[in-house]
Protein backbone atom coordinates (compact mmCIF):
# COMPACT_ATOMS: atom_id res chain seq x y z
CA UNK A 1 0.00 0.00 0.00
CA UNK A 2 2.03 2.95 -1.30
CA UNK A 3 -0.56 5.43 0.04
CA UNK A 4 1.30 5.25 3.39
CA UNK A 5 4.41 6.71 1.74
CA UNK A 6 2.35 9.45 0.09
CA UNK A 7 0.53 10.20 3.37
CA UNK A 8 3.94 10.60 5.04
CA UNK A 9 5.05 13.12 2.40
CA UNK A 10 1.79 15.02 2.79
CA UNK A 11 2.12 15.11 6.58
CA UNK A 12 5.68 16.43 6.27
CA UNK A 13 4.49 19.32 4.06
CA UNK A 14 1.47 20.10 6.21
CA UNK A 15 3.55 20.00 9.41
CA UNK A 16 6.10 22.47 8.06
CA UNK A 17 3.42 24.83 6.69
CA UNK A 18 1.51 24.75 9.98
CA UNK A 19 4.71 25.32 11.97
CA UNK A 20 5.59 28.32 9.76
CA UNK A 21 2.12 29.74 10.46
CA UNK A 22 2.20 28.90 14.20
CA UNK A 23 -0.73 26.51 13.96
CA UNK A 24 -1.38 23.37 15.91
CA UNK A 25 -4.38 21.24 16.68
CA UNK A 26 -6.84 19.88 14.16
CA UNK A 27 -6.86 21.33 10.64
CA UNK A 28 -8.68 20.39 7.46
CA UNK A 29 -6.39 19.62 4.54
CA UNK A 30 -7.90 20.18 1.12
CA UNK A 31 -6.54 17.98 -1.66
CA UNK A 32 -7.21 17.54 -5.36
CA UNK A 33 -6.80 13.92 -6.37
CA UNK A 34 -6.93 13.08 -10.07
CA UNK A 35 -8.56 9.83 -11.13
CA UNK A 36 -5.20 8.86 -12.67
CA UNK A 37 -3.07 10.06 -9.74
CA UNK A 38 -2.34 6.45 -8.76
CA UNK A 39 -3.70 7.12 -5.29
CA UNK A 40 -6.81 5.58 -3.78
CA UNK A 41 -8.51 8.39 -1.82
CA UNK A 42 -9.93 6.23 0.96
CA UNK A 43 -6.60 4.49 1.55
CA UNK A 44 -4.85 7.86 1.66
CA UNK A 45 -7.35 9.11 4.26
CA UNK A 46 -6.86 6.04 6.45
CA UNK A 47 -3.06 6.23 6.23
CA UNK A 48 -3.06 9.98 6.94
CA UNK A 49 -5.40 9.72 9.94
CA UNK A 50 -3.17 7.06 11.45
CA UNK A 51 0.04 9.05 10.93
CA UNK A 52 -1.36 12.38 12.12
CA UNK A 53 -2.81 10.95 15.33
CA UNK A 54 0.69 10.87 16.92
CA UNK A 55 1.43 14.53 16.17
CA UNK A 56 0.45 17.98 17.41
CA UNK A 57 -2.00 18.11 14.46
CA UNK A 58 -3.94 15.15 15.88
CA UNK A 59 -7.57 15.11 14.76
CA UNK A 60 -6.80 16.67 11.38
CA UNK A 61 -8.47 15.18 8.33
CA UNK A 62 -8.47 15.31 4.56
CA UNK A 63 -11.11 16.93 2.37
CA UNK A 64 -10.61 15.39 -1.05
CA UNK A 65 -11.94 16.71 -4.34
CA UNK A 66 -11.75 14.16 -7.14
CA UNK A 67 -10.54 15.56 -10.45
CA UNK A 68 -11.73 13.97 -13.73
CA UNK A 69 -9.33 12.94 -16.47
CA UNK A 70 -9.39 15.43 -19.34
CA UNK A 71 -7.14 15.91 -22.33
CA UNK A 72 -6.52 18.51 -25.01
CA UNK A 73 -6.20 17.74 -28.70
CA UNK A 74 -3.85 20.25 -30.34
CA UNK A 75 -5.00 19.09 -33.75
CA UNK A 76 -8.75 19.68 -33.20
CA UNK A 77 -8.18 22.44 -30.64
CA UNK A 78 -10.66 20.83 -28.22
CA UNK A 79 -10.67 19.55 -24.66
CA UNK A 80 -12.38 16.24 -23.99
CA UNK A 81 -13.03 13.99 -21.04
CA UNK A 82 -10.86 10.89 -21.31
CA UNK A 83 -13.04 7.79 -21.00
CA UNK A 84 -11.96 4.17 -20.58
CA UNK A 85 -8.34 5.33 -20.42
CA UNK A 86 -8.36 6.02 -24.14
CA UNK A 87 -5.72 8.75 -24.57
CA UNK A 88 -6.46 9.38 -28.23
CA UNK A 89 -8.75 12.13 -29.52
CA UNK A 90 -12.21 10.69 -30.23
CA UNK A 91 -12.44 12.93 -33.32
CA UNK A 92 -9.08 12.63 -35.07
CA UNK A 93 -7.25 9.83 -33.14
CA UNK A 94 -4.23 12.04 -32.39
CA UNK A 95 -2.68 11.53 -28.91
CA UNK A 96 -4.23 13.79 -26.27
CA UNK A 97 -2.24 16.02 -23.96
CA UNK A 98 -3.46 15.38 -20.40
CA UNK A 99 -4.93 18.53 -18.86
CA UNK A 100 -6.29 17.24 -15.55
CA UNK A 101 -6.62 13.96 -13.71
CA UNK A 102 -2.98 13.16 -12.90
CA UNK A 103 -2.62 15.63 -10.02
CA UNK A 104 -2.18 14.95 -6.33
CA UNK A 105 -2.26 18.51 -5.07
CA UNK A 106 -2.26 20.05 -1.64
CA UNK A 107 -4.64 22.95 -2.28
CA UNK A 108 -5.10 24.58 1.11
CA UNK A 109 -5.20 24.11 4.84
CA UNK A 110 -8.13 25.39 6.87
CA UNK A 111 -7.84 25.96 10.58
CA UNK A 112 -10.78 25.12 12.76
CA UNK A 113 -9.60 27.52 15.46
CA UNK A 114 -12.43 29.36 17.13
CA UNK A 115 -15.09 26.90 16.01
CA UNK A 116 -16.96 25.58 19.01
CA UNK A 117 -18.25 22.10 18.43
Amino acid sequence: MHETTIAGRLLEQVTSICAANSLDGAVIIHLEVGVMSGVESRLLEIAFERLVSDTNLSGSGLAITKVPLTGACDHCDTTVEIRDFNFRCPHCREPLRVRTGEELRLVSITTTEGITP
Binding site: M1, H2, T5, I6, R9, L10, Q13, I17, N21, L31, M36, G38, V39, F85, N86, F87, R88, P95, E103, L104, R105, L106, V107, S108, I109, T110, T111, T112, E113, G114, I115
Partner: protein, 228 residues
Protein backbone atom coordinates in the same frame (compact mmCIF):
# COMPACT_ATOMS: atom_id res chain seq x y z
CA UNK B 1 -16.71 31.00 13.26
CA UNK B 2 -13.16 32.11 12.78
CA UNK B 3 -11.70 29.74 10.22
CA UNK B 4 -8.47 30.67 8.45
CA UNK B 5 -7.37 29.31 5.12
CA UNK B 6 -3.75 28.94 4.02
CA UNK B 7 -3.61 28.53 0.28
CA UNK B 8 -0.79 26.18 -0.83
CA UNK B 9 -1.52 24.71 -4.31
CA UNK B 10 1.50 22.44 -4.48
CA UNK B 11 1.95 18.86 -5.69
CA UNK B 12 2.40 16.46 -2.79
CA UNK B 13 5.27 14.75 -4.64
CA UNK B 14 6.95 18.00 -5.73
CA UNK B 15 10.14 17.56 -3.69
CA UNK B 16 10.58 13.95 -4.81
CA UNK B 17 10.06 14.99 -8.45
CA UNK B 18 12.80 17.63 -8.16
CA UNK B 19 15.16 15.11 -6.50
CA UNK B 20 14.50 12.55 -9.24
CA UNK B 21 14.99 15.14 -12.02
CA UNK B 22 18.35 16.20 -10.55
CA UNK B 23 19.59 12.63 -10.27
CA UNK B 24 18.34 11.84 -13.79
CA UNK B 25 20.38 14.78 -15.10
CA UNK B 26 23.46 13.63 -13.17
CA UNK B 27 23.15 10.17 -14.74
CA UNK B 28 22.81 11.69 -18.19
CA UNK B 29 25.94 13.79 -17.70
CA UNK B 30 27.83 10.63 -16.69
CA UNK B 31 26.56 8.86 -19.82
CA UNK B 32 24.51 6.39 -17.81
CA UNK B 33 21.10 5.40 -19.19
CA UNK B 34 18.81 4.33 -16.34
CA UNK B 35 16.14 1.73 -17.16
CA UNK B 36 13.41 0.92 -14.63
CA UNK B 37 11.94 -2.55 -15.27
CA UNK B 38 8.43 -3.06 -13.90
CA UNK B 39 6.04 -6.01 -14.16
CA UNK B 40 3.95 -8.45 -12.16
CA UNK B 41 5.91 -11.14 -10.28
CA UNK B 42 7.26 -13.83 -12.58
CA UNK B 43 6.90 -11.93 -15.86
CA UNK B 44 10.58 -12.49 -16.63
CA UNK B 45 12.46 -9.34 -15.62
CA UNK B 46 15.49 -11.28 -14.38
CA UNK B 47 15.46 -13.62 -17.41
CA UNK B 48 15.33 -10.58 -19.72
CA UNK B 49 18.34 -9.09 -17.95
CA UNK B 50 20.25 -12.38 -18.23
CA UNK B 51 19.56 -12.52 -21.97
CA UNK B 52 20.46 -8.83 -22.38
CA UNK B 53 23.77 -9.23 -20.56
CA UNK B 54 24.70 -12.27 -22.63
CA UNK B 55 23.77 -10.50 -25.89
CA UNK B 56 25.60 -7.21 -25.39
CA UNK B 57 27.69 -7.46 -22.25
CA UNK B 58 30.79 -7.20 -24.43
CA UNK B 59 29.66 -3.90 -26.00
CA UNK B 60 28.11 -1.92 -23.14
CA UNK B 61 28.95 -1.75 -19.45
CA UNK B 62 25.83 -2.75 -17.54
CA UNK B 63 24.94 -2.89 -13.86
CA UNK B 64 21.76 -3.66 -11.96
CA UNK B 65 19.99 -2.77 -8.74
CA UNK B 66 17.59 -5.61 -7.93
CA UNK B 67 14.55 -4.91 -5.77
CA UNK B 68 12.78 -7.63 -3.84
CA UNK B 69 10.73 -7.87 -0.66
CA UNK B 70 12.97 -10.65 0.64
CA UNK B 71 15.91 -12.88 -0.44
CA UNK B 72 18.78 -12.20 -2.84
CA UNK B 73 17.83 -14.93 -5.32
CA UNK B 74 17.63 -12.58 -8.32
CA UNK B 75 20.94 -10.95 -7.37
CA UNK B 76 22.60 -14.36 -7.25
CA UNK B 77 21.42 -15.06 -10.81
CA UNK B 78 22.65 -11.72 -12.14
CA UNK B 79 25.90 -11.39 -10.19
CA UNK B 80 27.95 -13.52 -12.63
CA UNK B 81 26.78 -11.34 -15.55
CA UNK B 82 27.10 -7.74 -14.31
CA UNK B 83 27.79 -5.70 -11.15
CA UNK B 84 24.71 -6.31 -9.01
CA UNK B 85 23.32 -4.78 -5.82
CA UNK B 86 20.36 -6.34 -4.05
CA UNK B 87 17.83 -3.88 -2.62
CA UNK B 88 15.65 -5.63 -0.06
CA UNK B 89 12.58 -3.61 0.81
CA UNK B 90 11.67 -5.69 3.88
CA UNK B 91 8.07 -6.08 2.79
CA UNK B 92 7.48 -2.80 0.97
CA UNK B 93 5.71 -3.25 -2.36
CA UNK B 94 7.84 -0.91 -4.49
CA UNK B 95 11.24 0.84 -4.66
CA UNK B 96 11.73 4.48 -3.69
CA UNK B 97 14.52 6.88 -4.54
CA UNK B 98 16.32 6.83 -1.13
CA UNK B 99 16.76 3.05 -1.43
CA UNK B 100 18.03 3.45 -4.99
CA UNK B 101 20.59 5.99 -3.72
CA UNK B 102 21.81 3.44 -1.17
CA UNK B 103 22.18 0.93 -3.98
CA UNK B 104 24.19 3.44 -6.01
CA UNK B 105 26.55 4.00 -3.08
CA UNK B 106 27.06 0.23 -2.82
CA UNK B 107 27.77 0.05 -6.55
CA UNK B 108 30.58 2.59 -6.19
CA UNK B 109 32.13 4.81 -8.84
CA UNK B 110 32.60 2.29 -11.66
CA UNK B 111 31.55 3.63 -15.10
CA UNK B 112 28.22 2.23 -16.29
CA UNK B 113 26.54 2.72 -19.68
CA UNK B 114 23.19 1.18 -18.75
CA UNK B 115 21.98 0.92 -15.17
CA UNK B 116 18.96 -1.36 -14.79
CA UNK B 117 16.65 -1.07 -11.82
CA UNK B 118 14.67 -4.28 -11.47
CA UNK B 119 11.64 -3.14 -9.50
CA UNK B 120 9.59 -5.25 -7.10
CA UNK B 121 7.13 -7.44 -9.03
CA UNK B 122 3.93 -5.38 -8.80
CA UNK B 123 1.87 -3.58 -11.46
CA UNK B 124 0.32 -1.05 -9.05
CA UNK B 125 2.60 0.73 -6.57
CA UNK B 126 5.81 1.13 -8.65
CA UNK B 127 3.77 3.27 -11.09
CA UNK B 128 3.71 6.12 -8.56
CA UNK B 129 7.46 6.32 -7.83
CA UNK B 130 9.98 8.12 -10.04
CA UNK B 131 13.35 6.39 -9.61
CA UNK B 132 15.22 8.92 -11.77
CA UNK B 133 15.00 6.56 -14.73
CA UNK B 134 15.23 7.73 -18.34
CA UNK B 135 13.21 4.80 -19.61
CA UNK B 136 10.48 2.87 -17.85
CA UNK B 137 9.88 -0.54 -19.37
CA UNK B 138 6.82 -2.62 -18.47
CA UNK B 139 6.91 -6.35 -19.14
CA UNK B 140 3.72 -8.30 -19.84
CA UNK B 141 4.24 -12.04 -20.21
CA UNK B 142 2.15 -14.27 -22.44
CA UNK B 143 1.25 -16.48 -19.46
CA UNK B 144 -0.43 -13.76 -17.41
CA UNK B 145 -3.25 -12.92 -19.82
CA UNK B 146 -3.77 -10.25 -22.45
CA UNK B 147 -6.21 -8.22 -20.33
CA UNK B 148 -3.50 -6.64 -18.18
CA UNK B 149 -2.97 -3.22 -19.84
CA UNK B 150 -6.61 -2.17 -19.32
CA UNK B 151 -6.56 -3.38 -15.71
CA UNK B 152 -3.39 -1.51 -14.76
CA UNK B 153 -3.57 1.72 -16.80
CA UNK B 154 -1.30 3.84 -14.59
CA UNK B 155 1.76 1.63 -15.05
CA UNK B 156 1.14 1.52 -18.81
CA UNK B 157 0.57 5.27 -18.98
CA UNK B 158 3.86 6.05 -17.19
CA UNK B 159 5.97 3.62 -19.25
CA UNK B 160 7.99 4.35 -22.38
CA UNK B 161 8.31 0.82 -23.71
CA UNK B 162 6.56 -2.52 -23.35
CA UNK B 163 8.20 -5.92 -23.59
CA UNK B 164 5.84 -8.79 -24.37
CA UNK B 165 7.83 -11.61 -22.78
CA UNK B 166 7.78 -15.42 -23.02
CA UNK B 167 6.73 -15.34 -26.69
CA UNK B 168 8.01 -18.92 -27.06
CA UNK B 169 4.88 -19.98 -25.14
CA UNK B 170 2.44 -18.29 -27.54
CA UNK B 171 1.39 -21.56 -29.24
CA UNK B 172 0.30 -22.91 -25.84
CA UNK B 173 -1.55 -20.00 -24.22
CA UNK B 174 -4.68 -18.00 -25.10
CA UNK B 175 -2.89 -14.65 -25.51
CA UNK B 176 -3.30 -12.14 -28.31
CA UNK B 177 -0.21 -9.96 -28.80
CA UNK B 178 -2.22 -7.70 -31.14
CA UNK B 179 -4.91 -7.11 -28.53
CA UNK B 180 -2.33 -6.26 -25.82
CA UNK B 181 -0.59 -3.83 -28.14
CA UNK B 182 -3.88 -2.19 -29.19
CA UNK B 183 -4.99 -1.85 -25.55
CA UNK B 184 -1.67 -0.47 -24.32
CA UNK B 185 -1.35 1.89 -27.28
CA UNK B 186 -4.69 3.53 -26.44
CA UNK B 187 -3.43 4.24 -22.91
CA UNK B 188 0.04 5.42 -23.97
CA UNK B 189 0.32 6.25 -27.71
CA UNK B 190 4.09 6.86 -27.38
CA UNK B 191 4.92 3.28 -26.25
CA UNK B 192 7.36 1.18 -28.25
CA UNK B 193 6.77 -2.59 -28.31
CA UNK B 194 9.30 -5.41 -28.12
CA UNK B 195 8.37 -9.08 -28.44
CA UNK B 196 10.98 -11.17 -26.67
CA UNK B 197 11.65 -14.73 -25.62
CA UNK B 198 14.57 -14.87 -23.22
CA UNK B 199 14.54 -18.68 -23.57
CA UNK B 200 14.89 -19.09 -27.34
CA UNK B 201 16.39 -15.66 -27.98
CA UNK B 202 13.69 -14.31 -30.32
CA UNK B 203 13.58 -10.52 -30.25
CA UNK B 204 16.59 -10.12 -27.96
CA UNK B 205 18.65 -8.50 -30.69
CA UNK B 206 15.91 -5.95 -31.48
CA UNK B 207 15.50 -5.19 -27.75
CA UNK B 208 19.26 -4.63 -27.41
CA UNK B 209 19.20 -2.30 -30.44
CA UNK B 210 16.45 -0.29 -28.71
CA UNK B 211 18.58 0.05 -25.56
CA UNK B 212 21.71 0.90 -27.52
CA UNK B 213 19.82 3.59 -29.43
CA UNK B 214 18.40 5.07 -26.20
CA UNK B 215 21.90 5.15 -24.70
CA UNK B 216 23.33 6.80 -27.81
CA UNK B 217 20.53 9.41 -27.88
CA UNK B 218 21.15 10.24 -24.21
CA UNK B 219 24.86 10.86 -24.68
CA UNK B 220 24.24 12.91 -27.87
CA UNK B 221 21.65 15.06 -26.03
CA UNK B 222 24.10 15.80 -23.24
CA UNK B 223 26.86 16.77 -25.69
CA UNK B 224 24.46 19.11 -27.50
CA UNK B 225 23.56 20.83 -24.23
CA UNK B 226 27.26 21.26 -23.43
CA UNK B 227 27.95 22.83 -26.84
CA UNK B 228 25.02 25.25 -26.84
Amino acid sequence: MNANTIVVRREVNEKQKIDADELRQTFAERGTLVVNLVSSPGAGKTALLEATAKAMGDRLRMAVLVGDLETDRDAQRLQPLMPTVQLTTGGACHLELPLVRRGLAALGDQPVDILFIENVGNLVCPASFDLAEHVRVVLVSTTEGDDKPGKYPKIIRTSHAMVVSKTDLLPHVPFSVDSVIADAERIQPELTFHKVSAIDGTGVEEWCRFLTEKHRALTVDVREVECS
